[in-house]
């Protein structure tokens, strides 16, 4: 009996190996080769037949498949989102240079640098096809916020105004040649969080303005952030936005202090270039 059983097992495993070999070429470069590993594991279980109730096994197999699908999808979205964050951060640090260098040239370059981000959004849009937006929202919210920060900063440098939500979405649509973004959208929360972060960037930018003697620009930024912050004040904010609002108010106070110093020193020597130690004023 026992030898028989052993033989059977050997036969089975050799059959499996054969199958595996046949499978290999097809799946060798497949991104989802997790699934194959899974199947092997399941086959081993079948041999040992540890399940008293085969129904439970098949139930969990289908659960496993579903969990893997969701997790893989989430992982891919997180990856795109992280890439968006990195690219956006680079655009932001490029834009910070606009005050020192030729701003038109910098804007041109930043617009170019935004291009690869659009195709990353394309990946996310593809992944969300036939899926639930909010189920995966947490996986890409950080990337979206960072992107909003970058484009709103660019928009401010170019036009001196706050970017409307539509102007954030349209370039994505246009560059991908899509009629609609499918399930994808930018939620009002992400928009709010993104433009809250903008205030921090503008604060840094304004210190650059002082050093380069563009005082008017500082006052403009100060007004801009002030009206943004009072706009938020009217809204019924949720927890996330509220905590970022505090950061925004900190930035506002710093810029106000900066503008105050400019006024004071300018009044002493109206016609002279003043020297302001930026670090001194910011903290």
């Amino acid at each position: 009996m026992s030898t028989n059983g052993n033989n059977k097992r050997d036969d089975q495993s050799s059959l499996e190996k054969g199958e595996e070999k046949r499978f290999r070429p097809n799946n060798y470069n497949n991104r989802n080769n997790n699934y194959n590993k899974n199947e092997n594991k399941n086959e081993n279980n079948e041999k040992e037949s540890i399940f008293n109730e085969p129904e439970i096994k098949s139930m969990f197999q289908s659960f496993g498949k579903k969990l893997d699908e969701d997790n893989d999808r989430r992982e891919r979205i997180v990856k795109s989102s992280r890439d968006i964050t990195i690219a956006s951060k680079r655009v932001i640090s490029l834009l910070q240079r606009a005050v020192w260098e030729d701003s038109q040239e910098i804007l041109k370059q930043s617009k170019q640098n935004l291009q690869p981000i659009y195709s990353l959004f394309g990946n996310i849009i593809k992944e969300l096809d036939q899926q639930e937006y909010w189920k995966f929202q947490r996986a890409f919210t950080n990337g979206v916020q960072e992107y909003i920060e970058a484009v709103s900063f660019q928009h401010y440098i170019e036009f001196g105004t706050l970017i409307p939500l539509d102007s954030i979405l349209t370039p994505i649509k246009e560059s991908l040649g899509l009629e609609s973004l499918g399930q994808f959208n930018i939620s009002i929360d992400d928009y709010a969080l993104g433009i809250c972060d903008l205030s921090g960037e503008l604060m840094r930018y304004s210190t650059g303005c002082v050093t380069t003697g563009k005082y008017d620009e500082c006052f403009k930024i100060c007004d801009f952030i002030r009206s943004m912050s009072s706009g938020f004040k009217k809204c019924h904010l949720n927890k996330d936005i509220n905590s970022k609002m505090n950061t925004m108010e900190e930035s506002l106070k710093k810029i106000e202090k900066l503008c105050f110093s400019i006024r004071i020193r300018k009044s002493e020597f109206p016609n002279q270039q003043i020297k302001v130690d930026v670090n001194d004023m910011i903290e």
């Binding site: 997790n34 899974n38 594991k41 399941n42 279980n45 540890i50 399940f51 008293n52 109730e53 439970i56 096994k57 139930m59 969990f60 197999q61 659960f63 496993g64 579903k66 969990l67 893997d68 997790n71 036939q130 899926q131 639930e132 937006y133 909010w134 189920k135 929202q137 105004t161 706050l162 409307p164 009002i188 928009y191 709010a192 801009f224 009206s227 943004m228 706009g231 938020f232 009217k234 809204c235 019924h236 904010l237 949720n238 936005i241």
Partner: protein
């Protein structure tokens, strides 16, 4: 700038209102969840008379509340607000699954639970019992059954512990098939082996004393 904030103000206000409404509905769902949990506790008593049917009767008021939620929330937003009802729905599902097992000695499947609770099949835009919640409910089940196992012996019921042992080892083997991430299910699953150990010890204790009828 002013008018940029207008749609914004409106949407955030709506969001706030919606959250208030959901919270209100939850205050009606939570007592049901507590009631069921309490009924599950009575199963452990020596002369318990709770039946699965009683649990089903208790959840009758749940359906209108869930219908209310469905009316209130746009399907696209179910996932956004899911955290509000996740815990209660998991807890209610667990109570039903436990009671069903004790009575019928088989597992109440996810689609059966969905049907009972008046939830829809899991697909985009449907108000459904999430797989994650069902799995957590199963972890709760394993934990509760490990306790029930002891109490069966106290009741001099020597047959059920072996059935529990078989069932939980199946369940544990099932969880092993899943590639779990480092999340809550993973943590709960990790503690499942202690449940299994406890159950096996009970089965051992009664079998060495020849209390299981052959």
């Amino acid at each position: 700038m002013e008018n940029l904030f207008e749609p914004f103000t409106e949407e955030l206000e709506q969001d706030f209102q919606l959250r208030q409404n959901i919270k209100e509905i939850m205050t009606k769902i939570e007592p049901i969840d507590r009631k069921l949990s309490q009924m599950v506790q009575t199963y452990h008593q020596v002369n318990s008379t709770v039946t699965y049917q009683q649990l089903l009767d208790e959840i009758q008021p749940l359906k209108p509340q869930i219908d209310q939620l469905k009316l209130l929330i746009k399907p696209v937003l179910y996932y956004k607000y899911r955290d509000y009802w996740k815990f209660s729905i998991t807890q209610i599902s667990f109570s039903l699954i436990f009671s069903y097992w004790v009575e019928k000695k088989t597992l109440l499947k996810i689609d059966q639970v969905q049907l009972i609770l008046g939830l829809d099949e899991n697909k985009p835009g449907s108000f459904s019992l999430e797989l994650e919640d069902y799995l957590i409910a199963l972890c709760n089940l394993s934990n509760e059954l490990s306790r029930y196992c002891l109490n069966c012996v106290i009741k001099q019921d020597y047959e059920t512990p072996s059935l529990i042992s078989k069932f939980i080892s199946d369940l544990f083997a099932g969880f092993r098939l899943l590639n779990l991430k480092n999340d809550i299910i993973r943590k709960r699953y990790d503690s499942m082996k202690y449940d299994l150990k406890r159950i096996e010890e009970v089965v051992y204790d009664i079998s060495v004393r020849n209390l299981i009828k052959k």
